[in-house]
Assembly symmetry: C2
Homo-oligomer: 192 residues x 2
């Protein structure tokens, strides 16, 4: 698959902000069952193979897994502090759980699990996220096996269909809208 038109500016932003570990953090908005928005910080884990799909990890016990089941669409907002630019990536979300039938995606899920640190993997063995905390017992857990993902470990994919790129530097600011028409990407300058 050819690289989308927004891949090159995004790669440049990642490179220029690489000194900041949190330049790989972005905010993902989804919609709750009550039609209200939800929003949280997630960590970018690279692209799926040679696709334009962004990879993240999540726990099937989290509220966002249910939200994605109901409304498989999200908008990620990614702000790069050093270069002062923002990417808004709107697209379809795909949650690859333990029972997902696509073998290539299961392989990607497993590879992502293996690429995590022990610390990151251990968090998937913690007590049920978001539930009232009775004590700290549910966090005194052994490190999970590095080869086989825990059952509630999910690969989350965002397949952008529209990307709004704003550069705050410049007078005036620069802004581009990248749009996918089903087969190819187009880009146009829009007013900031």
């Amino acid at each position: 698959m050819p690289l989308a038109s927004w891949r090159s500016p995004l790669a440049r932003a990642l490179h220029r902000n690489r000194a900041l570990v949190y330049a790989r953090y972005l905010q993902l908005a989804t919609v709750r069952a009550d039609q209200r928005p939800a929003n949280r910080t997630i960590v970018f884990r690279g692209f799926l193979d040679d696709s334009n799909q962004l990879q993240f990890v999540t726990d099937a016990r989290n509220a966002k897994a249910d939200q994605i089941d109901r409304c498989p669409w999200g908008e990620a907002c990614w702000y790069f502090p050093k270069t002062r630019e923002q990417f808004r990536l709107s697209g379809a979300l795909c949650l690859v759980k333990a029972d997902h039938t696509d073998s290539a995606l299961q392989k990607a899920r497993q590879a992502l699990w293996q690429s995590l640190s022990d610390t990151a993997r251990t968090q998937f063995a913690w007590a049920y996220p978001g539930k009232p905390q009775m004590n700290k017992d549910g966090f005194n857990v052994s490190t999970p096996d590095a080869t086989t993902p825990l059952p509630h470990f999910c690969l989350l994919l965002l397949d952008p269909q529209e990307v709004d790129h704003l550069e705050l530097r410049g007078d005036p600011q620069n802004r581009w809208l990248h749009q996918h028409d089903g087969s190819s990407w187009s880009v146009q300058a829009i007013n900031p």
Copy 2:
């Protein structure tokens, strides 16, 4: 109005991250007319008087103004890089436009306009945001009057009803859920 239970940890985060100008940037999620989420970076402009409502500025010509008219609810996600903590603030949104009838809110809108820099005020005189950019003529504008807000300048208020505070530091991480029951705030520790 008494300070909400989340005001003290938020004030502490703002203080400890004050060296980073972008620690005052957060991401606001809303819902579009098509029921899909939208998400963008906005700048925190302090609290409204002695309330627990967060102030922002926006342009009535932006897509989010329409979204808020349809669904006046948002979730702000605020990540503080230095202290590695996140606040998710979910609550009602109120857009104070030029024709808003509440005189106290109009006064707050005017005060916020006056507090902006000339550069920030000038952006409200720019060409229609989000429209295709024909040329740069619409940005070669004179600095607006500092006392009277331009008609499409809006004060945006977020009145949180639930605040999810996560501290990534600590082993395990710490997480608290602050909830408003209509008259007062309660807080409980929840699993990270």
